[in-house]
């Protein structure tokens, strides 16, 4: 590994003052330009007398007995190339020297150094480029599951919504290159519209402690970022190819970066994925193919004092929805649940037929920053994004190729923040943001709008601080206020309006009465407060303790408020409620960890008490001429989530390592202690890795994953089956059995001249071709989950 260091922002002053008295002190601090992390073990040498000192673990160094005037320092670092700095000494001087990493690959730095922390005291974990690359042919949600405590709510294998410590959907914020994704995360079958290949690192902050990004992240924040771009004349890139046996397809992804010494850079990236029908151990999962295209371009000039960048990305995905999951009514659901095999199994095909989803997401960002000497750094960011979602149901006649749902969500955000880091012990951040969002539900679908047309305005303001109590202890605190107002134009069926009791409570919002339906104008305003406080204490370089308390409030999303009809793709009636108010979370988390060359552990328990927790659960059926449909209703209750994420690793020898992880979360209603719906079950992972650097960095890992059965679940409901002409139990909540999966992965890297390298990897998932169903896969009623799959990976670095 070779790094280079550049030193920036040095005020070079020619000093003509000659020293009289040579006993002044220079107190220096070497920190990383990007993230303010101290750089330890840098060698600081005074050019004149060759006096040499090292920076300590906090990046600090002291030079004594200096004369006033200019001195030239040579600063070198084991991982960087040597640079020269001229410092003006005038009495005892404090000098912060900011260095910029000049990196070929940032991920390698993250391996060696302390990871960049988004928060001081929250539980967080980072996935590096290498760990994301292994999931190039999968989804973001699959990659994130490598992090202990992260699971997912799936609809088949291509729609994967991340869940952090039992909470997902609108309770998780996803920041894609610093932009909060606005991609209709409110639906259970709406996965994040992000290409996993476009991100270089992924950080998961559990809980809402990262107030800077939003006060409503009751579950957590996922940050997807790019590697830093070196400040030198260079061009580099990589291409990844994945061949996948299950689905008989694969993906290709390429990335190219051109950078200049003066800070200019341009980076382009594109990827394409195509998979046909996936296969369970015993049968084909018909109509589960996917085709996906993503591309992004990023350019700008990054300097120390100021810089700007522009970013644009496009994402287009077309996902087939399992044919067998298309059901007509409750009797179809009953027979699907009672049958072992899916009702429709066809021959393998790459064709994606209806039902399917097609989502296009455009995202653009402009960013500017300026650093004010002696104060801090100001950021200004504008972003715009448009999410256009089409859901195609099986329709007939002239509507055959018409979408059943066509929603266009456009969001613009203007945000600014300032970080004041001039104080030695304390750091402050302030920020404000304004956001305007517009949703348009296209009436040309010929299907009643599930989500109405609306305009939404958000305004947020926050302040956070970090205070160094001692060299080993840092405290943090923050507050945030968010205002949000949603102005909707919603049609209600008159019968539904009355059934919900809105005719009594909301008669003043009726705009016009169209006979069988009403046009209404709900205007709903929310004031949310969030706050966070915590402490991080390092016992020594190896042991660390973190404590955090966060208060967070989340306003209901449009689905929770406005849903009022048959969700065709799910064959269920979903009912929101205008009366739903913000939910409030009080979360306490502790983490205790040890990290050494030979072994380490991390134990992170948490308690999340959520008042007015919004849940969607089955409540019964409604009858129509088309049969009976299950009804899912939103309601609010006080909930308690208690869990722990624990992990331990050990390097037995230089070549052998084992990893062990366990996570569990218990979710219950506080009033009657009944189980909450869709809480992930406990899971345990054990892995053994053999690594031999001499054999082209040969790496082989076997991983076992045991997922326990969820024993705490909601009671099933009894429904009247028109077909059976009697009341029957709808076995909709019973979780499937526990399962155990094995995964094998092996990799070798071949280096060529000029930094070119080829990495070859072969992976097998579900090695034993085990038949299983997962509680948090919405298609568990219809089919087994994926069978064995081989993946061949080729990566070229150039």
């Amino acid at each position: 590994m070779r790094y280079t260091l550049t030193i920036l922002c040095i005020l070079v002053c020619q000093s003509y003052v000659f020293a009289q008295d040579c006993n002044t002190i220079l107190l220096g601090e070497i920190i990383d330009f990007h993230d303010q992390t101290p750089l330890a073990d840098a060698i600081i040498q005074v050019k004149v007398n060759k006096e040499q000192v090292y920076s300590d673990e906090f990046g600090k160094f002291t030079l004594k007995n200096l004369c006033n005037g200019s001195i030239e320092l040579e600063i070198s670092h084991p991982e960087c190339s040597t640079r020269f700095v001229i410092v003006e000494i005038n009495g005892n001087t404090h000098k912060k020297i900011t260095l910029e990493h000049h990196l070929e690959e940032l991920d390698e730095v993250k391996v060696t150094g302390a990871t960049i922390k988004e928060t001081n005291s929250a539980q967080e974990k980072v996935l590096k480029t290498k760990q994301l690359e292994r999931f190039g042919s999968n989804n973001l949600g699959d990659a994130l599951k490598q992090i202990n405590g992260v699971s997912s709510l799936n609809t088949g294998s291509n729609i994967v919504k991340p869940i952090i410590q039992g909470l997902g959907g609108s309770r998780i914020l996803i920041l894609n290159n610093g932009i909060r994704m606005q991609d209709m995360e409110w639906g259970a079958e709406h996965a994040p519209n992000i290409d996993v290949n476009a991100a270089n690192t992924a950080t998961v902050v559990k809980g809402a402690a990262a107030l800077k990004y939003g006060g409503d992240a009751i579950g957590g924040v996922i940050l997807l970022d790019q590697n830093r771009i070196p400040k030198k004349d260079t061009i580099y890139g990589k291409t990844l190819l994945n061949g996948v046996s299950n689905g008989r397809g694969g993906n290709i992804s390429s990335e190219l970066t051109k950078a200049y010494e003066n800070g200019f850079y341009i980076k382009g990236q594109a990827s394409y994925k195509k998979l046909g029908d996936a296969e369970a151990p015993d049968y084909i999962l018909s109509n589960t193919g996917v085709s996906q295209f993503g591309a992004s371009v990023d350019f700008g000039r990054l300097g120390f004092e100021k810089g700007w960048s522009a970013y644009y990305s496009y994402f287009d995905t077309n996902i087939g929805i399992l044919s067998a999951s298309h059901i007509g009514n409750v009797d179809d659901l009953i027979s699907a649940i009672n049958s072992d095999e899916p009702g429709k199994i066809s021959d393998f095909t790459y064709d994606i037929k209806n039902p399917r989803q097609n989502v296009k997401h455009h995202l653009g960002k402009l960013k500017y920053y300026k650093r004010f000497e002696g104060l801090g750094k100001l950021n200004l960011q504008y972003d715009i994004q448009q999410n256009h979602r089409f859901e195609y149901d099986i329709r007939v006649g002239a509507d055959k190729n018409k979408a059943s749902l066509d929603l266009k969500l456009t969001t613009q955000t203007l945000a600014t923040d300032i970080t004041i880091d001039a104080f030695e012990k304390q750091k402050f951040s302030f920020g404000v943001l304004g956001r305007y969002q517009e949703n348009f539900a296209n009436p040309e679908t010929g299907v009643r709008r599930l989500i109405p047309d609306y305009d939404k305005v958000d305004f947020g303001v926050f302040a956070t601080t970090e205070y160094k109590l001692s060299d080993l202890t840092t405290a943090d605190a923050g507050i945030r206020y968010d205002y949000s107002k949603i102005d909707a134009q919603k049609f209600y069926k008159t019968s539904r309006w009355e059934e919900r009791g809105y005719d009594k409570d909301y008669s003043d919002i009726v705009v016009s009465d169209l006979g069988t339906q009403l046009l209404t104008n709900p205007e709903l305003t929310y004031h949310n407060f969030s706050a966070s406080a915590g402490l991080k204490h390092k016992f020594n370089t190896e042991n660390q303790f973190r404590f955090n308390y966060t208060l967070a409030q989340r306003a209901p999303n449009p689905s929770e408020l406005f849903s009022d009809g048959l969700h065709h793709s799910a064959a269920r009636i979903e009912l929101g409620d205008l009366r739903i108010k913000s939910e409030t979370s009080h979360r306490i988390s502790v983490s205790l960890g040890k990290d050494t060359y030979t072994w380490g552990y991390d134990v992170a328990p948490y308690l999340n008490l959520i008042s007015d927790f919004i849940i969607l659960e089955p409540t019964g059926v409604e009858f129509s001429l088309r049969g009976a449909f299950p009804v899912w209703e939103y309601r609010q209750t006080d909930a308690r989530l208690l869990g722990v994420d624990a992990s331990i690793y050990n390097n037995w020898t230089n070549n052998w390592r084992t990893d062990h992880k366990f996570s569990i979360v218990k979710g219950r209603e506080r009033s009657n202690n009944t189980a909450l719906i869709n809480i992930p079950s406990a899971r345990m992972e054990n892995g053994i890795t053999f690594n031999k650097q001499e054999w082209h960095n040969f790496n082989i890992a076997l991983q076992s994953q045991y997922v326990f059965r969820q024993n705490e679940y909601l009671d099933n409901i009894n429904v009247y089956s028109p077909q059976q002409n009697q009341e029957v139990e709808l076995d909709i909540n019973t979780p499937p059995n526990a399962y155990h999966l094995l995964k094998l992965d092996t990799e070798m890297k071949f280096n060529f001249n000029n930094n070119n390298a080829l990495t070859v990897g072969l992976g097998v998932t579900n090695l034993l071709n085990t038949e299983y169903r997962d509680y948090l896969n919405r298609q568990r009623y219809f089919t087994d989950d994926l069978g064995r799959s081989f993946t061949l990976r080729l990566k070229f670095n150039y």
Partner: protein, 191 residues
Amino acid sequence: MTTTNTIFKNIKKVSIIAFSSIALISCSDDDDTPEALNEEEVITTVIVKLTPEAGGTAITLMSKDDDGADGPSAPVITVENLAANTTYNGTITLLNETESPAEDITLEVAEEDDDHQFFYAVSGAISGTAYTDMDEDGNPVGLKFTLSTTNAGAATLGVTLRHEPKKPNDGTTADAGGATDIEQTFSITVE
């Protein structure tokens, strides 16, 4: 490098202008009233008329759901009693009564009869049904049928209309596939 410098400077200028103009646009609020949506091909009423083959008064089975498939109200079903050991000639009528006068959806089904099929499921004191109509390909449609009763007792008659079923099929809805337009079960007394 100077050329690159100029290019980037220009891009920056353009970006700033674009950014400010978008920010301005974003402030404009449009209060356009969304267009009301009238669902197509709504069926509110299913009427099964059974006339004794030997002559006599026709009896009517009716299911009526005014607020459609996703409205909260359940269909209102009215039935009359059937006579034991009798064969009836049946016809079925579908109406959209949200329009005035009511639209007869049966005509549409008859027009596109190769894309539709009714399925009748019976139990109890009804012994069976038989199709008495065919589409142009010689496959059953089910707008017309016969129904026979046995000795007195309780019975059910299930009526399913599938749009674009597989045709021909083995007479079961499972084999036929397609989209369900109607699925109603009438509980009847045979006396």
